[in-house]
């Protein structure tokens, strides 16, 4: 079997509102499937259905060959879930939190302690092991939460917006941890509203918007599909940027955006590059940096949905 997750035509309604509208998801074993979309697009609902926490109103989903409706217990044996909020007991220490889960999973006292110590070590929490988690930083809590979901050695890991609210350093640390799990053969289902995160971690991507799959493929394919490339230009002398922008606008006849240092313009034909260079040379503009690159996922999302990937005030996922 090559598919760790296979979901077809998932439908879920909350009070008559469609949260999921025939969503298909497939995760290949040992890879990261990224589910990308703004708030309220149906990411959490999808994860909860695949985690047996929520029943779909329609469609079919299986995890490692087990139907989530008919064999929820088998599915729960295979998965580790890290939800949107770090689900750890604040009053308990890191060790107590992990030992509890281990004991629930049937580890005896000694093995539960060993397993907890192992994971705390692996997630760089050994120093804080015996402190109540209410004193942990946001990043530490997320790591503990992730450690808790790893106790039973799951072959699938569901991460629902694991880095929301984390600072860049903690986020990078968490990414590192996720990559290590994938190296060990774990399949990861990752939801995120950060395009950068999806680009960094995901092998395959599904883009959700208003409960529908609006695009899917590898991050590379998605970038190709958005059709355009982006030309980036930096001048040696900052005061020449204005002149350079005029030149580029004349060649590409598209509006150029700039942040005062770098000018960016989407282009459809890479042949514009030599033309831009020639004209700039004619005008005596000293080019500091000139490149043609694939668009970022932010730019892709804009192209796919017609709106920027900003969190929207739609809260159909009231499923607490």
């Amino acid at each position: 079997m090559t598919h760790a997750i296979r979901a077809e035509g998932l439908v879920k309604e909350f009070k008559g509102k469609r949260a999921l509208d025939r969503v298909d998801l497939t995760a290949r074993k040992g890879t990261v499937l990224g589910v990308l979309g703004p708030n309220g697009s149906g990411k959490t609902t999808s994860v909860r259905i695949l985690a047996t926490l929520l029943r779909a109103d329609g469609g079919y989903a299986e995890v490692d060959g087990f139907d989530v409706l008919r064999h929820p217990h088998e599915v729960r044996r295979l998965i580790g879930l890290t939800g949107q909020y770090a689900a750890v007991d604040e009053e308990l220490t890191g060790t107590q939190n992990l030992v509890l889960i281990a004991r629930l999973l049937g580890f005896d006292r000694a093995r539960a302690r060993v397993r907890s110590a192992e994971l705390l070590e692996g997630f760089a929490l050994s120093d804080a092991a015996d402190r109540p988690t209410k004193g942990y930083s946001g990043g530490m809590r997320r790591r503990l939460d992730l450690a808790a979901s790893m106790i039973g050695g799951p072959s699938l890991l569901y991460l629902d917006e694991p880095t929301t609210g984390l600072d860049p350093h903690s986020r990078n640390e968490l990414w590192e941890v996720v990559r290590r799990q994938v190296e060990n053969g774990v399949t990861v289902l990752l939801t995120t509203q950060y395009l950068e995160e999806a680009d960094h971690l995901a092998d395959d991507l599904v883009v959700l918007d208003h409960g529908r799959v609006i695009s899917e493929g590898t991050p590379e394919q998605l970038k190709d599909r958005a059709g355009t490339q982006v030309l980036e230009l930096r001048t040696s002398e900052a005061d020449q940027l204005g002149l350079a922008i005029k030149v580029v606008e004349a060649v590409t006849s598209s509006p150029v955006s700039d942040d005062g240092l770098t000018a960016r313009v989407p282009v459809t034909d890479s042949a514009v590059l030599p033309e831009v260079v020639r004209r700039l040379d004619e005008q005596g503009v000293a080019v500091g940096e000139l490149s043609l690159r694939k668009p970022s996922l932010d730019e892709v999302f804009l192209a796919l949905t017609g709106q920027p990937a900003e969190p929207q005030e739609i809260s159909e996922e009231t499923s607490t």
Partner: protein, 276 residues
């Protein structure tokens, strides 16, 4: 009462049944005990809560005995003896609110989702929470008694009578726990659980024989108070700790305990399954 569930009316009803056959009763019990231990650890780790558990009985007993005692019976010692069984019952009954409150908190924090995504018995988190809370109620009973003894309460029923009365109120509290758990599951936030619970608990305890004899109440209230299950519990405890009827009130109490459990255990389990 605010929104109940988020399932669509046309959709299938609730996820898998509780305690799937994959989990043996023995393992279910083990898991319940682990989760009960979690509640105990949380109390231990929270000095404020421990302090509250200790100070609240001191405050209530002292206030009631010394503020109302003379006015009620012309003699605070007499009122103290009358009050002790009632105030033990009242303290424990109010403490059952904690069950719904902490369950609601677990839902809000996502801890509930973690438990439900584990291959454990579906009922384990619910059973564990309630077993753990029984420890808290026991502390409450003991504390109120200690304060009573300190101000001269000497129950004629002796140690045996006191233990029997304590066991009876704990049993009754166990039944009320399911009611509290039900409220905790259907009300959306921990704060509203508390508010809603208070509205239920105040009439239940004050409209009973816990603080005053129902004979002094207007006739409509008397009817309510005499038939209030809390009155039966308190009367039974008075019988066991002091003197008076025992058999009748104890039977009534056991009957009510069975009825409340029979109604609210399935309701709590149902609401727990439906809570998504």
């Amino acid at each position: 009462m605010s929104a109940v569930t988020t399932d669509s009316p046309t959709g299938p009803v609730g996820p898998a049944p509780m305690a799937p056959p994959n989990v043996s009763p023995l393992r279910t019990a083990h898991q319940g005990l682990q989760l009960a231990w979690r509640s105990v650890l949380k109390v231990k780790a929270n000095p404020e809560e421990v302090l509250g558990l200790i100070l609240q009985p001191i405050m209530f007993v002292t206030l009631f005995v010394f503020v109302f005692g003379q006015a009620m019976m012309g003699d605070w010692q007499a009122y103290r003896d009358f009050l002790m069984p009632g105030i033990i019952a009242q303290s424990v009954i109010f403490a059952t609110l904690g069950t719904g409150f902490s369950l609601s908190q677990d839902v809000e924090k996502g801890i509930f989702d973690r438990f439900r995504s584990l291959p454990i018995a579906r009922s384990a988190p619910l059973v564990g929470a309630i077993l753990g809370d029984l420890v808290r109620y026991t502390i409450t009973v003991v504390m109120v008694l200690v304060v009573g003894l300190a101000i001269g309460f000497r129950p004629e029923g002796g140690a045996l009578g006191v233990i029997a009365a304590g066991a009876l109120i704990l049993l009754f509290a166990f039944a009320l726990c399911w009611m509290s758990a039900f409220v905790g599951m259907i009300v959306r936030t921990p704060m509203s659980v508390q508010a809603f619970g208070m509205i239920m608990m105040f009439p239940l305890t004050f409209g009973s024989s816990a603080f005053v004899a129902p004979e002094s109440m207007p006739s409509w209230l008397q009817t309510v108070a005499v038939n209030n299950p809390v009155s039966h519990v308190v009367d039974a405890m008075r019988g066991l700790m002091l003197d008076g009827d025992v058999a009748g009130p104890v039977l009534w109490t056991l009957g009510w305990t069975a009825i409340i459990t029979a109604v609210f255990f399935p309701l709590a389990a149902w609401a727990y399954r439906r809570r998504t």
